[in-house]
């Protein structure tokens, strides 16, 4: 239950390896913020600086308005869940969860009450007398969360807590973390490299690359209006398709012209282009796989391509096609909209025509890679 404020935070390893640079962020009380990015982007380093496990090279970190730069982790009133659980192997589950409370010299009865309450919420009551090595991965992660929960700390830090779990368990635990969040209602900072976790868990997402924040926003904001090409490609799965092409401004209307087709930009995107008075220029066009539609040879907006891979996901198809110019494009098609005949025809080497939804296109500068209208 506290705010966290990072001002111009910088981390340099050794002499000149800059892990995090110019990190500025204000996290509101009870907010759930997710740091996401590829490995080596500095997200874990930032979390560890907040925890006090890494020194801060420059800048300040405040928790609840107090600068904590030089405070030991134990004095920051934070709780943390580690990727590899970090349970004390020589202690039982109960002792693991009671560890921090006993260090604080809490009364035995209170310790018991706290631990059993947390165990109850997490459904691990029957495991309390076991040692960590007798637990499965999912159970260990629950214990690790429980150990952090009993603390009632100001900030709850989680460093890739689901990365060591298998896919099915990960989905289940993700849902449980959302539920848990309702129950313990404190400030969360969550680090992951998985954009699905970031999108589903976060109130706000901080997308990082090479130690620098690329964008901060709600899941909807970063999905609909990515600041730059990196964010656009990082958020969403399968990743956004990009085409280098021309944006044409004609009589106040905008068109993109990939592969000789001419597709009009519609809706808010067109309004914004007009507002900013964007001129005809070469751009990188980004279109998400779900915003590409199949069409037929008669459609003037249709772009011909050949099917390379057809991934049947159940409710949808992921079609990997290759255009006449040799560019690879991924198309996500809802299977419910396809007739049996069409589905059967989408085999290796068959020709399909695709086109873009006019209102769901993204425009990036060829050199700057920045979104032209964000």
């Amino acid at each position: 239950m506290a705010t966290v404020k990072l001002t111009n935070v910088k981390k340099v390893y050794g002499k000149n390896v800059v892990a995090v640079n110019e990190f500025n962020l204000e996290i509101a009380d009870k907010e759930f913020v997710v740091f996401v990015g590829p490995s080596g982007c500095g997200k874990s380093t930032t979390l560890r600086m907040i925890a006090g496990l890494e020194e801060i090279t420059e800048g300040t970190i405040e928790i609840d308005g107090r600068v904590v730069n030089d405070l030991q982790p134990k004095d920051r009133d934070i709780a943390m869940v580690f990727q590899n659980y970090a349970l004390y192997p020589h202690l039982t589950v109960f002792e693991n969860m009671a560890f921090s409370l006993r260090l604080r010299k809490m009364k035995q009865d209170d310790v018991y009450a706290k631990v059993t309450e947390a165990a109850d919420i997490l459904g691990i009551t029957e495991l309390l007398m076991r040692k960590p090595r007798e637990l499965s991965g999912g159970q260990r992660q629950r214990v690790a969360i429980g150990r952090a929960m009993v603390r009632d700390s100001k900030v709850f830090l989680m460093d890739e807590p689901l990365s060591n779990l298998d896919a099915k368990l990960r989905n289940q635990m993700r849902a449980e973390i959302i539920l848990l969040r309702q129950k313990i209602n404190t400030t969360f900072i969550y680090v992951t490299h998985d954009q699905t976790e970031a999108m589903t868990l976060g109130d706000r997402i901080v997308i990082m690359k090479d130690g620098i924040i690329q964008q901060v926003g709600t899941p909807a904001e970063v999905f609909d209006m990515p600041y730059n090409l990196f964010v656009a490609e990082f958020v969403g799965a399968p990743k956004m398709n990009t085409f280098e092409t021309e944006l044409v401004c004609e009589n106040g209307k905008y068109y993109v012209t990939p592969y000789g087709a001419k597709i009009q930009v519609e809706g808010k995107k067109a309004d914004k282009l007009a507002q900013r008075n964007v001129q005809t220029q070469r751009i990188i066009l980004g279109v998400r796989p779900e915003h590409i539609a199949l069409t037929d040879a008669n459609d003037p907006r249709g772009i011909p391509s050949k099917v390379e891979v057809n991934e049947m996901m159940g409710g949808e198809l992921h079609l990997h096609v290759i255009t006449d110019d040799g560019d690879r494009v991924i198309i996500r098609v809802q299977t419910i909209n396809l007739t049996e005949d069409v589905r059967a025809s989408l085999t290796y080497g068959s020709t399909v025509y695709f086109t873009f939804e006019g209102k769901a296109m993204h425009f990036f500068g060829v050199d700057s890679k920045h979104n032209l209208i964000s």
Binding site: F82, Q83, A86, Y88, H90, F99, S100, R147
Partner: protein, 290 residues
Amino acid sequence: MMRSNAHHMGMRTKTKISNTIIYIVLVIMMLIWLIPFVCILLESFRIESTGKVGYVIPKVWGFDNYISLWTKTDFPTWYLNTLIIGLVVAVVQMAFVLCTSYTLSRMRFKGRKGLMNFILVLGMFPGFITMIVLYKVLSGVGLTNENAIFGLMLVFTASSGMGYYVSKGFFDTIPKSLDEAARVDGATRLQVLTKVTLPMSKPIVIYTILTAFMAPWGDFMFARYISHLTSKGMTVAVGLQSWLNTELMTNAYYTRFCAGGVMVAIPITLLFMFLQKYYVEGVTGGAVKG
């Protein structure tokens, strides 16, 4: 099928033969090793003659040699001296070694690598080349002969931190995130060591204590240098050896000398019997756990 069976049998016989040979060699080696110990043990119980005789198995058995060893000689003083030195060194050395190992395993500070290299190089010099200097220093401050106990404690504990390799190797295998979890949970560095690292390191703690106790217990060279004048400051090794210097003691009280040798072996044998499994884990633990 037949062929492969026959082949299999052949292999099995071969293994059997080679195992038999290995065991025979080992048994012979063990016997050669054990002969002196068995001789001493048997002679210590001989009471029909206390001098040197031409046979091994006593004709009359009894504890007379032990009784006279503990009541009529300085042996109890030497034994107590050695025990005190061993225990103090074991405790102090354990503290030094574990702190050094934990620090070098967990903390990152300027000169850490250099310090480790320095210790490595220093360790390559045999300890006895410092003997004369050490003797001069210790006699200068009056820690030889009657005060030799303190001198010896000092000598054995002074550089003990340098023996950090095995336990550092063990600590290195304990994930760092456990330390971090404990620190976030509210532990100081010392509490991390005592409440998390050490409870997980029982084998290495026992290994450290054992080796620390054994070094002064079995040492002769340093002890002899530092205390050779008065019986008051002698350890068992020096005391027993002093008996061998006189004709009388060697010839007339040979069995009592043997009883002394057996007494020296007892504590170490007991320690090993009870702590053997930890000892093996300690020596190999750091190497394979990673």
